[in-house]
């Protein structure tokens, strides 16, 4: 189990899901990625253990909670879930060739997709503090 307490606190400019995606408002759009915890769970901290990331087509309409892609490590495959409903308007296609970015900077350079959300509110999702509490409880 990854030691979640040794990490510095997660950015508080975004919201978090129990499936370890983050979503960050960026003007009229929102960026979605996965947390450092998700990356470590998949790769055990070895960036070479990540082998593949499958992202959706631009234009795809996603429901809240819908799986939009997959990320694969040497020994496991994890679904990527969209925290809110919206349309995919851009994908970070460089990630597919440079999975190590997810280990180095999951918060900024490691964004996965940009969506135009149906609604602006992210109130139902966890903030950084609540996500860290969730991780701490999960570790016990």
């Amino acid at each position: 189990m990854a030691d979640t307490r040794s990490k510095t606190s997660r950015p508080d400019d975004r919201r978090y899901c129990e499936t370890h995606e983050w979503i960050k408002p960026d003007g009229d759009t929102m960026l979605i990625g996965i947390t450092d915890f998700a990356v470590v769970e998949l790769s055990n901290g070895n960036e070479g253990d990540l082998v593949y990331c499958d992202l959706p087509e631009v234009g795809r309409i996603l429901k809240a909670g819908e799986t939009f892609g997959e990320i694969e490590s040497v020994k496991a495959v994890a679904d990527l879930n969209c925290p809110v409903a919206g349309e995919v308007i851009e994908i970070n296609s460089s990630i597919e060739e440079h999975l190590e970015v997810l280990s180095k900077d999951p918060w900024k350079e490691g964004w996965l997709i940009r969506i135009r959300p149906d609604a602006k509110s992210l109130d139902k999702l966890m903030d950084a503090k609540a996500y860290e509490k969730f991780l701490a409880e999960k570790a016990h």
């Binding site: 189990m1 055990n44 070895n46 070479g48 253990d49 082998v51 593949y52 499958d54 997959e70 694969e72 040497v74 020994k75 495959v77």
Partner: protein, 365 residues
């Protein structure tokens, strides 16, 4: 979750620990693929203490085992080891195992996740035989050295036993780390030369640490179960729950070498259906490799054009083959090495081709 005598040693080495077959085991100490390369080029040290170890004694031990084993136990030369399976009456396996035959006992090594089922099966079928079945799993640790530097490393710790004199799939006894009469076998689950040691529980940590200390100069490192799975798949070795299980029999899995239909063995549980199947099998286990980015995984389906023809049972990234590899069941008419096939991964098709098993083999000692 059960812990092996080496559990704390793994945590000290900062291993990532996971549940496996009811045990808390190291899945990796570092990057899995680097661990695979270490074993293929130097040597690795494995804790296999989770595996079930069973000693069978008594006057009827071989006659009893020849009733429940697929291989011909009474014909194993003394000091040799054979691969075998336990099958149900329908010919489908309960487990696969290694059988060590000595003058006064037969020693079995079974899978961790099946140990309880195996013991219950053995006891159920032992009625009427003069046998004693002893579960030695908790009394012994099991440590494997695998890779080209295994012999050099282990010989430094071994007295009164020349390891070079132990042939492949044979065992002898010697003094290892000062512990007399230790069982040492030239066996493994990696496709490399190597040894498996059966160590009294109280001495396990010391033997483990001495192997690491002496092996360091040869490049030996501790290796987790993640790399072990890739190593065994590259070497074409089956894993219960994947290539074989309650619906995948040893004949279709290509394990005929572990199944004896010799008349002298007499009847055994599962013999009749497997003997019939050997004459008319319709599907077989094949290797696949794919240059695509996705790794074949258990349950993915294989297509020849629009037709679904089979499914994957194991898969891995393979640093040795430098490709993503897997094993799959397909009809006999399919699977010729070099022929193309497609893997369906969540409704996307990835091209692959069949290849001969094993993916990797090294000339044996």
């Amino acid at each position: 979750m059960k812990k092996t005598p080496l559990h704390d040693a793994h945590e000290k080495l900062s291993a990532k620990m996971v549940e496996f077959g009811g045990w808390h085991m190291p899945v990796q100490y570092g990057p899995i693929l680097e661990e695979v390369v270490t074993v293929r080029t130097k040597a690795g040290l494995f804790d296999l203490s989770h595996m079930g170890r069973v000693r069978v004694t008594g006057a009827d031990r071989e006659r009893f085992l020849d009733k429940i084993c697929t291989n011909f136990v009474a014909k194993i030369p003394l000091g040799s080891i054979r691969y075998s399976l336990f099958c149900r009456a329908d010919g489908n396996p309960i487990d696969d195992l290694l059988v060590y035959r000595s003058e006064d006992e037969v020693f079995l090594v079974v899978n961790a996740s099946n140990t309880d089922v195996d013991l219950a099966w053995m006891r159920e079928h032992s009625k009427g035989f003069d046998v004693k079945i002893e579960d030695q799993t908790d009394a012994l640790a099991m440590i494997a050295l695998q890779g080209q530097a295994s012999q050099a490393t282990l010989q430094e710790l071994t007295r009164d036993l020349d390891l070079a004199s132990i042939g492949y799939y044979k065992f002898k006894y010697g003094t290892v780390s000062g512990i007399a009469d230790m069982r040492v076998s030239r066996t493994g689950y990696t496709g490399e030369d190597g040894f498996e040691l059966y160590v009294p529980k109280s001495e396990a940590v010391r033997v483990w640490n001495e192997c690491l200390a002496h092996g360091a100069k040869h490049g030996l490192k501790p290796i987790g179960l993640g790399a072990r799975d890739t190593l065994r798949l590259e070497a074409g070795m089956p894993l219960y729950g994947h290539e074989i299980d309650a619906t995948h029999n040893p004949i279709e899995a290509g394990l005929e070498f572990g199944v004896s239909f010799k008349p002298e063995k007499g009847d055994w549980i599962g013999r009749a259906p497997l003997e019939r199947l050997a004459q008319k099998k319709t599907r077989h286990l094949v290797g696949i490799k794919t240059a695509g980015p996705r790794v074949p995984r258990q349950g993915y389906e294989l297509y020849a054009g629009p037709e679904k023809i089979g499914y994957v049972v194991s898969g891995s990234v393979s640093p040795t083959v430098n490709s993503n590899i897997g094993t799959a069941y397909v009809p006999l008419a399919h699977g010729k090495p070099g022929d193309k096939v497609e893997i369906d991964i969540k409704d996307k098709r990835q091209p692959a081709e069949y290849c001969a098993l094993p993916f990797f083999s090294r000339t044996r000692k």
